[in-house]
């Protein structure tokens, strides 16, 4: 890891933290538990396509722990860890297959982010009834995934030049 990468990683952590804070202040409330825009996923996407996979995994973990310690409690940290973890796994796999562009990877990230959160909620509440939200969570994850993928693509093409210098 060179100095430029380290500097960018620090910047990404700060950005992801700010975006999580914005989402915490302005939550998406459409009456569906587990539905999140996942703004911080934008930074994760950009990091994945610029600084690299290992760095992106550390970025995700640092973000979840920082946000959890600052705004939430243990159960909230558990939700976001499951969401972020599953989402990142899906994105890493999708990216490695080489079959999808930034958009496809981002869509999978968005969908699995919501699925991860609902799975933890089902375990915590000991109810299977949350499963009925799955279709809505898939649709929301797909829409936010397309939007985030679009923006991430714009940013990535501009930031990438910096790493080639």
């Amino acid at each position: 890891m060179n100095n430029r990468k380290i500097a960018f990683l620090g910047l990404f952590v700060a950005l992801a933290f700010v975006l999580s804070y914005i989402e915490y202040m302005l939550p998406l409330n459409i009456g569906i538990p587990g539905a999140k825009v996942g703004l911080a996923n934008l930074v994760v996407m950009v990091a994945l396509y610029t600084v690299g996979e290992k760095e992106t995994i550390s970025l995700s973990i640092i973000r979840v722990v920082l946000v959890g310690l600052t705004f939430g409690n243990l159960s909230m940290m558990l939700y976001s860890l499951a969401g972020a973890g599953l989402s990142l796994c899906a994105m890493l796999i999708a990216k490695r297959t080489g079959r999808f562009s930034v958009t496809g990877v981002s869509v999978l990230g968005g969908v699995f982010h919501n699925i991860g959160q609902i799975i933890v909620a089902m375990l915590v509440l000991e109810t299977e009834s949350l499963l009925y939200y799955l279709p809505f969570l898939i649709v929301i994850g797909t829409i936010t995934g397309v939007l985030i993928g679009f923006v991430a693509n714009l940013i990535t093409t501009r930031v990438k030049g910096v790493f080639k210098m």
Partner: protein, 125 residues
């Protein structure tokens, strides 16, 4: 965007639509006149109320937080709650079997149970 991305999005949306429609059909066919509203807190049954009787129930938690359940005109709804996210209050009212309103912060789940034969629902225990 690649062709694969578009296929992925189409498959996801189609799967979501099919499951949503399928679930709604199942719910409508499994809701009988004797439907009940079951309230659980943290997986434990707190109370059971008939869906065809209008009432307002204050669901009180040991730590002072609460959800107010209103049953009227055959619908169950959470009309007020102490939780910070208010997702349960924003949720549409429910009437079909297995529909539920969830309050994650309070760990409260309000579920409609269809009819006679779902008296003992193993999954809630």
């Amino acid at each position: 965007m690649k062709k694969n991305d578009i296929i992925l999005i189409a498959v996801l949306l189609a799967a979501a639509l099919l499951t949503a429609v399928g679930m709604r059909i199942w719910q409508m066919n499994n809701t009988r006149d004797a439907a009940k509203v079951v309230v659980t807190i943290d997986g434990q049954v707190y109370g059971t109320y008939p869906l065809d009787e209008d009432r307002t129930e204050r669901i009180e938690l040991p730590d002072g937080s609460y959800n107010i359940l209103t049953i009227s005109d055959g619908y169950a709804d959470v009309t007020e709650a102490s939780c910070p996210d208010q997702i349960c209050v924003k949720h549409n009212h429910i009437k079909y079997s297995k529909e539920s309103i969830v309050c994650l912060p309070n760990k409260v789940v309000v579920t409609v149970e269809g009819g006679e034969d779902s008296e003992i629902d193993g999954a809630t225990f």
